[in-house]
């Protein structure tokens, strides 16, 4: 009975297996990226980036229809342009990253909307907006997995400068020039993972698989390594439960996955070992030293 609900959908249907594989691949990339976004106080910036990608994807859609490579290429170009330009502006002037990013992503959004309305096509962008992880074909799945692999490898390469840049940027500037490239590469990884996510979850919810698991992880660990592991685990768990939920109830898969992550987040806020509400309300007797 339980296996009918939890396992049968995946053993019976290939599209469910592909969806599960996709969500696991997505989680492996998005988990660590999300943790760094959170620790660098850039969570909302991930959201802004998701908006910046939208026009690029829309242009790709206009030019070649529902071709996932065109969508991805358009999204990557728009996302990289916005990320790099805002990164360069905030690094070479005194303007803070959030202000310069807001400017560039709004401009990008405006350009995208302009192009779409001038073209005057009444296109269905629902797929781009909300994605469809259940319609994942093999080339797309391969691409998602490739991007996730790339993310992990690149993150391993820039890990040390990225950590030092997050905790003590001035120190890194005095000992090395690795700070700026690490930061820019990290911005690029955000874009890659957002584009990766929007085929499964859509441009609007792709960022959810980064931010929510990272938020969950913050409540369970004080050290960055376990935090990353917890974030990945939480993302995979949300993906799995979300797919089962979607299969059984016909809730769309993207929202189901993010809703499950939100519920786990809520549980973590209440019961989390590190700074959760209940442990703070009932901390137990104080210690000796």
């Amino acid at each position: 009975m339980i296996s009918d609900v939890l396992i049968a959908p995946f053993s019976d249907f290939a599209f469910m297996r592909r969806a599960l594989a996709a969500v696991i691949a997505l989680s492996l990339g998005a988990g660590p990226i999300g943790v760094f976004l959170m620790l660098r106080r850039m969570s909302l910036m991930g959201d802004a980036m998701a908006h910046a990608i939208l026009p690029g994807a829309a242009i790709g859609f206009l030019l070649s229809g529902l071709n996932l490579f065109a969508l991805t290429a358009g999204g990557l170009v728009a996302g990289f342009a916005v990320a790099l330009l805002s990164g360069l502006v905030s690094r070479s002037t005194g303007l803070k990253e959030d202000a310069s990013l807001a400017t560039f992503y709004l401009a990008s959004l405006a350009i995208g909307v302009t192009i779409v309305s001038v073209k005057g096509t009444n296109i269905d962008l629902l797929h781009v907006l909300f994605g469809n992880i259940l319609a994942m074909d093999d080339p797309t799945l391969l691409m998602v997995a490739t991007n996730a692999t790339l993310t992990l490898v690149v993150l391993a390469v820039i890990y040390r400068p990225l950590v030092i840049e997050s905790v003590d940027p001035l120190f890194l500037r005095t000992v090395s020039r690795a700070g700026a490239p690490a930061h820019l590469i990290f911005l690029g990884l955000i874009v890659v993972n957002l584009v990766n996510g929007f085929q499964a979850l859509g441009t609007l919810l792709a960022v959810g698989l980064m931010i929510l698991p990272a938020g969950i992880a913050r409540f369970w660990s004080r050290d960055i390594t376990p935090m990353i592991c917890i974030a990945v685990a939480a993302a995979i768990l949300s993906g799995y439960i979300g797919l089962v939920l979607s299969f059984q109830t016909r809730i769309p898969s993207g929202p189901a996955i993010i809703l499950v992550a939100a519920l786990i987040y809520l549980g973590s806020v209440l019961f989390g070992r590190v700074g959760g509400v209940l442990p703070q309300l009932f901390p137990g007797r104080h210690l000796e030293a």
Binding site: L39, V157, I158, R160, P161, V163, I164, S166, V167, D168, P169, L170, F171, L172, R173, T174, V175, S176, A178, S221, R222, D223, I224, M227
Partner: protein, 252 residues
């Protein structure tokens, strides 16, 4: 290092307004130099210029072939995210950057050195604590451990003993003197004149412009100190362009 740090008619500042004006002088290798002056005298600006974070508006700073990134610099206002989940041990280990770089492993010998540095600043037992749990004094001790690991020929400390209690200051001052004995060049901005007189052989008295530079006892005279207070005038938004021939030529 056998070549001195040379300041040649250096002017450092922000938006063309000088904060350090026409400074010329040398810091001999292995010297222990205190930089003294009122708030706003340009001490921090001078250090930012020395470590290469700020480009001089005019003149030049020569480190005698020493890579700027080989100078250990402890800023006054550290830009450290104390909520970042990193342990004291890992944080201190970043001092090894010059030897391990972004990819080098931290092996047994390096771990031993890190443990020794943490012990030298009196933080043994704190290795696995996250940096957010440290007090102000413990934080400063940890930053000194990192400087220790940087193993730099030139060490620049910007008001390292501010808001430190007596025992922390004393412990950290011992480290500074130890670095001096090892032949490293140490430059430190300080406010405690008794400490300067007691422990720092050389002093630069700065008040935007150099007031005096030399042996501590001569520099810290009542006259010089009074003059430094007078000279530290405010930033003038409408200041005119500084014309070189108003000043004696110091080109070397």
């Amino acid at each position: 290092m056998t070549v001195p740090l040379k300041f040649q008619d250096v002017t450092l500042g922000y938006d063309r307004h000088p904060a350090v004006h026409h400074l010329t002088g040398e810091v001999a290798p292995g010297s222990l130099l205190a930089v003294v002056g009122p708030n706003g005298a340009g001490k921090s600006t001078l250090f930012r210029g020395l470590v290469g974070l700020l480009k001089p508006l005019a003149g030049s700073i020569s480190t005698g072939g020493l890579d700027r990134r080989g100078i250990a610099y402890l800023p006054q206002i550290a830009d450290i995210d104390r909520s970042f989940p990193i342990s004291v041990f890992d944080f201190a280990s970043t001092g090894l950057w010059r030897t391990v770089g972004p990819f080098g492993g931290i092996g047994k010998a390096a771990r031993k050195r890190i443990a020794q540095a943490i012990a030298a600043v009196g933080l043994t037992g704190f290795e696995n604590r996250s940096i957010g749990t440290l007090s102000g004094g413990q934080m400063q001790r940890m930053l000194f451990a990192r400087v220790l690991l940087q193993d730099a020929r030139v060490i620049v400390l910007d008001e390292p003993f501010n808001a430190m209690d007596a025992s922390t200051s004393a412990d950290l001052l011992r480290l500074v003197e130890h670095w001096h004995q090892e032949g490293r060049t140490v430059v430190a901005a300080l406010h405690d004149l008794d400490m300067v007189r007691g422990h720092f052989p050389q002093t630069l008295l700065l008040a935007r412009e150099p007031v005096a530079w030399g042996a501590t006892a001569e520099v810290l005279s009542a006259d010089n100190l009074a003059q430094a207070r007078r000279m530290c005038e405010a930033f003038d938004e409408t200041a005119r362009t500084c014309v070189p021939d108003q000043l004696p030529s110091r080109a070397a």
